[in-house]
């Protein structure tokens, strides 16, 4: 079944209140994130505060004239400064949250079908690229092996050691053209390779 993508906004809040994606802490966090309304932290608050984009993915079932929420994803920006802490501010694309409903996890039935999670990942990566970003980053909990494997499958690598909350920072370089159009690359203006070698 084909995914139908809808940009998320506050008027859709009531439609996603039954969304469930698992019982682990990060699943509960994702559920709460998409279901919460300001002043509680969540998707709507992140749209308003950080200008994030959030998408819902539905499948339409014609027989019952019903639609099902398969999952959601989001895309924002992170700022960083070179040299820290007071250097020039740069931006890179960032996936704040992404989840697939329990009901739609795993491979759908039928030949030549993709995991919904892969379709969702491909959509976010495509949008980040279309927005002109050259780097896409996210963080994943160190115990969330399944998500980590999924991100690695889509070209992300762990580049940061885990922080105090047990999160690993991952990055995907979106293309190999160093001076193509779009937004300036964070890395082009970032540390020189000679600096990096001193790690």
């Amino acid at each position: 079944m084909e995914l139908r993508i809808q940009e998320y906004s506050a008027d859709l809040l009531s439609q996603i209140q039954s969304f469930e994606c698992g019982t682990d802490d990060w699943c509960r966090h994702a559920e709460r994130w998409i279901k919460s309304a300001p002043p509680f932290r969540g998707a709507i608050e992140s749209i308003e505060t950080h200008g994030n984009k959030v998408w819902l993915y539905f499948v339409d079932v014609d027989v019952f004239d019903e639609k099902y929420l398969v999952g959601f994803s989001s895309l924002g920006k992170v700022k960083w400064k070179i040299p820290p802490p007071d250097g020039l501010e740069r931006e890179a694309a960032f996936i704040p949250m992404l989840a697939v409903s329990l009901r739609f996890q795993g491979k759908p039935e039928g030949e030549n079908t993709k995991h919904y999670s892969d379709e969702i990942m491909e959509h976010v990566i495509r949008v980040a690229r279309e927005q002109g970003h050259r780097e896409l980053c996210l963080y994943v909990h160190e115990d969330n092996a399944r998500a980590r494997r999924k991100y690695e499958k889509h070209g992300f690598s762990v580049l940061g050691s885990k922080n105090s909350k047990g999160n690993l920072a991952m990055l995907k370089v979106l293309d190999n053209q160093l001076s193509e159009g779009g937004q300036p690359s964070a890395l082009e203006s970032g540390p020189r390779l000679g600096d990096a070698a001193a790690l």
């Binding site: 809040l13 009531s14 209140q17 802490d25 990060w26 509960r28 966090h29 709460r32 994130w33 279901k35 919460s36 309304a37 300001p38 002043p39 509680f40 932290r41 992140s46 950080h50 924002g76 992170v78 700022k79 960083w80 400064k81 070179i82 040299p83 820290p84 890179a92 960032f94 704040p96 949250m97 050259r134 780097e135 980053c137 963080y139 909990h141 690598s157 580049l159 940061g160 050691s161 922080n163 909350k165 999160n167 920072a169 990055l171 370089v173 190999n176 160093l178 690359s185 964070a186 890395l187 970032g190 540390p191 020189r192 390779l193 600096d195 990096a196 070698a197 790690l199």
Partner: protein, 162 residues
């Protein structure tokens, strides 16, 4: 003769009283333990009652926000603070409960209390994850070392594509 009988009777009476006193001592000890168990149950019940109120407040306020009602901007922090505060006495309550179990008592509300503890612990872990997401959005998860490694990665990829 009567004197001897009286003495014997007196001793028997005294013995009976001493035995009664000793028995009362162990009964008192048992009573105290039972009371301690009841106190523990009462304490767990107070915790459970607080938990029910807190959970209800959390759900009600969240639902109000979803339905578009005005919610105080300080509500999320207040709820987070209350969850953390609720957890604070839990280890001591659990220790006391274990003592009662060790004495052979059964606490009628212990299972429910433990479920409440696990629920609140998860709420606190989720709050920590929310903090972590805030930090990430501020760029704090992606530090200088991360970007230096990213620069190397881009350099490797562009070299291999040439």
């Amino acid at each position: 003769m009567n004197d001897l009988l009286d003495q014997d009777y007196s001793l028997k009476l005294a013995k009976k009283h001493v035995e009664e006193y000793s028995k009362q001592d162990s009964i008192k000890a048992l009573h105290n333990e039972a009371m301690e168990c009841r106190d523990c149950e009462d304490w767990l019940e107070i915790g459970l009652e607080a938990f029910r109120w807190l959970k209800q407040a959390d759900q009600t306020i969240r639902q109000a926000a979803v339905e578009g009602f005005a919610v105080s901007s300080s509500a999320p922090n207040s709820i987070a603070t209350l969850y953390r505060a609720w957890l604070r006495p839990c280890d001591r309550a659990e220790g006391l409960a274990k003592e009662q179990i060790g004495r052979g008592f059964r606490l009628k509300n212990l299972t429910e209390f433990r479920e409440a503890c696990e629920f609140v612990r998860q709420q606190v872990r989720i709050i920590d994850l929310e903090d972590a997401l805030d930090e990430a959005q501020q760029g704090e998860v992606f530090d200088e070392v991360f970007w230096q490694r990213a620069a190397l990665k881009r350099s490797d990829q562009s070299d291999s594509s040439r």
